[in-house]
């Protein structure tokens, strides 16, 4: 099968292509982190479309597809597009997104015109130039890989030397200026790196798709970590993975352009990160909410036990499921879920098949909650002048989120209180046997 042939790396051409795309993916996505954090993702898109006329001009002037000429041509027209769109934004009333869109389509149109002129010129070397649009990883040759390595080395040196400066410049430009960092120079370096990364990817990924390789991995990484160094690392791994798959697919299906495949792989990783990411991911947030809901459920069940115990002056007596359900708007399954969670904390015991009772520790925990609830009611009614019949619902919400520190403050403000606004006793934890 083609996939095993590819993974055996018997063919030296395959090795070169794979090494090339992996390096490319890593470099572009490390640089892309800075572009992403600068909120210049759209500029990346403008640059990638705008390198096309530069490439075509380089080909017309040199008559070859030498990677260094291509890189220089791409670099110059990419930089020009940045200068032009920044200039339009600065001197007119047009906003950045609009000026970027104008520049992007203008440069790309010129590039496409030049491309069609070249294709009809009869120059034999022009075969394959159209791959620069959507990329063809299999077209990478040894010379390209050597060039990737040079550029990667330069980029890494710049990033290492200027790491702290870039970080401060991007986070807080005013402060960076105030301590005398050369902000114009830093901006120049960052833009140059971004243009370089994009110019590097034209052969393997293509000008239309390259900006996604710059920004996608950074966006994905931002859902996994809140640390810049880790973000660079995760981004580099994601970028290399995308590059690797791109090479593989390009080997197995040489007819297909590589760029779209790389982007599809990247998009899958990015969407997965948005959902699963441990820093800001949707699922992570959902789990946190779920954990909070469970905590509220457990605490409410403890309170049911307390209220029942308070009425009958026996806190440790086993209760049937029915008794518990009657007190609150929970259904049987919810109550059972909460009871089982409490059981694993050893706060509740199942005495018979249908009977549940607080343990001693559970009893103390329930008293703590009730104490908090009633203290809060006292605070609301006495210090904030809220009517006694309105305080319960507020206390209900607040008791689950009060931090120990706030709790201590509440205790000290209301020292010595023994009853709540409804004249119910506030449990005194010191008097409970442990």
């Amino acid at each position: 099968m083609a996939i095993f042939e590819f993974l055996s790396f018997d063919d030296p051409g395959t090795q070169i292509v794979t090494i090339g795309t992996v390096i490319l993916g890593a470099v572009a996505s490390i640089i892309g982190c800075f572009t992403f954090l600068q909120k210049r993702a759209l500029i990346g898109d403008a640059i990638s479309h705008s390198v096309l006329p530069g490439i075509c001009l380089a080909f017309i002037l040199s008559g070859t597809k030498n990677p260094y000429y291509m890189l220089i041509g791409a670099f110059i027209s990419g930089w020009l597009s940045v200068i032009l769109s920044d200039w339009i934004t600065r001197t007119s009333k047009i906003k950045a997104d609009t000026s970027i869109a104008i520049v992007l389509s203008f440069f790309f149109a010129i590039g496409m015109m030049m491309l069609s002129i070249i294709q009809h010129s009869g120059n034999v070397n022009q075969a394959g130039l159209h791959h620069f649009l959507f990329g063809k990883a299999a077209a990478i040759i040894k010379e390209d890989v050597v060039m990737f390595l040079y550029v990667a080395a330069i980029a890494l040196v710049i990033i290492i030397v200027y790491f702290r400066a870039f970080k401060l410049y991007i986070f807080d430009i005013e402060f960076a200026k105030s301590i005398g960092l050369p902000v114009k120079w830093l901006d120049f370096l960052l833009t140059t790196l971004a243009v370089l990364a994009i110019a590097l990817g034209i052969r393997a990924v293509g000008v239309v798709m390259m900006s996604a390789l710059l920004i996608g991995p950074a966006a994905a990484a931002s859902f996994w970590t809140g640390n810049l160094k880790k973000m660079l690392l995760i981004s580099a791994i994601v970028g290399s993975l995308a590059g690797f798959f791109g090479a593989m697919i390009s080997y197995m299906r040489p007819q297909m352009p590589t760029g779209p495949w790389i982007i599809i792989v990247l998009s899958v990783i990015a969407f997965t990160s948005i959902v699963m990411g441990t820093e800001k991911g949707v699922l992570h947030k959902w789990r946190k909410r779920q954990a909070f809901k469970n905590k509220v459920l457990r605490e409410n069940i403890l309170k049911i036990f307390y209220h029942l115990g308070e009425n009958q002056e026996d806190f440790l007596q086993p209760r049937t499921l029915q008794e518990l359900i009657e007190r609150r708007a929970y259904n049987k399954n919810e109550i059972l879920k909460g009871l089982n969670q409490l059981k694993s904390k050893h706060w509740v015991d199942q005495t018979e098949s249908n009977h549940w009772a607080l343990t001693k520790q559970g009893n103390i925990e329930s008293a703590k909650l009730i104490r908090l609830h009633r203290l809060w009611e006292v605070y609301l009614s006495e210090h904030l002048n809220i009517a006694a019949d309105h305080v319960h619902d507020d206390a209900e919400a607040i008791e689950h989120i009060l931090t120990p520190k706030l709790q201590a403050r509440l205790e000290s403000v209301l020292k010595g209180r023994t009853t709540d606004p409804h004249d119910k006793a506030i449990p005194n934890l010191n008097k409970m046997d442990k």
Binding site: V161, A165, G226
Partner: protein, 261 residues
């Protein structure tokens, strides 16, 4: 200015324009050392502009500013700037300690790790603002008051003599407000000078020793009780468009065709 305190800032005939419209016009004053100084004035009076100008962040149309009788460049490491809290993106991947350490970036060479001394500096700054327990917390999880404390800690880690703070009291909770005030008082007692842009006239007389009252032009400068007189406040907040401002508007209008042409 009192005879017994040295001059720390000299603003001489300063004019600053945004898009040709003057934001500050012929502003000229000196500020004394070792005081908490408020820059007060209505919205759009040029308060932040003045602070940024002192920090060298804006091009000047005319005039000069000297700190300890020297240009800023000579003395930059003695001056610390606290920008408005809302001017940065708090989703940036960094924790509290990292942001405070940024105050020392200029002194650090790229190949050096943060030195022990710098680390102690950062920890003590965090301690002073009460953010040490949150040192490892990601900055996106901070409240407004905590964000402001982080910015103050970053400035304190710089160990400057002159502090320029842009609206440190804006949108912070009451307990942060009072702890910032205590902090500023302690800094003054160490001989530091603190210049604060402040928007709330009510609290100004309690917070500051010395006041710069602005409304595009300088209205008054001096000890708080001498500046906050009904006449001065009428001049600053009276609401009437002064001739100066009208001319400013005109200048801007006249310039639009030349910019777009």
């Amino acid at each position: 200015m009192g005879i017994n305190s040295k001059r720390i800032i000299e603003v001489h005939d300063l004019t600053i324009s945004y898009h040709k419209k003057p934001a500050l016009w012929n502003v000229d004053f000196d500020l004394p050392e070792g005081k908490i100084i408020g820059i007060i004035g209505p919205n759009g009076a040029g308060k932040s502009t003045l602070l940024k100008a002192i920090m060298g962040l804006l091009p000047m149309a005319s005039g000069y500013i000297k700190i300890y009788d020297q240009p800023l460049e000579e003395i930059r490491n003695k001056v610390s700037y606290v920008p408005q809290r809302g001017s940065v993106d708090w989703d940036f991947p960094a924790n509290v300690r990292e942001v405070v350490t940024m105050g020392l970036y200029k002194q650090q060479k790229w190949y050096e790790r943060t030195s022990q001394k710098d680390k102690e500096n950062v920890e003590s700054a965090l301690e002073k603002v009460g953010m040490l327990p949150f040192a490892n917390r990601h900055i996106s999880q901070l409240s407004g008051g905590q964000q402001q404390r982080v910015f103050l800690a970053r400035a304190m880690a710089q160990n400057a003599d002159l502090y320029l703070m842009d609206e440190p009291f804006a949108g912070v909770d009451a307990s942060t407000e009072s702890s910032i005030l205590d902090l500023l008082g302690a800094m003054r007692d160490e001989g530091k000078t603190i210049v604060v842009v402040h928007h709330d006239l009510q609290t100004a007389k309690d917070y500051f020793d010395h006041i710069v009252l602005l409304n595009t032009r300088l209205i008054a400068v001096g000890p708080t009780n001498e500046v906050l007189t009904p006449q001065h406040l009428q001049d600053a907040y009276g609401g009437k468009l002064t001739l100066l401002q009208e001319v400013g508007e005109l200048l801007q209008k006249e310039n639009i065709p030349t910019r777009e042409g």
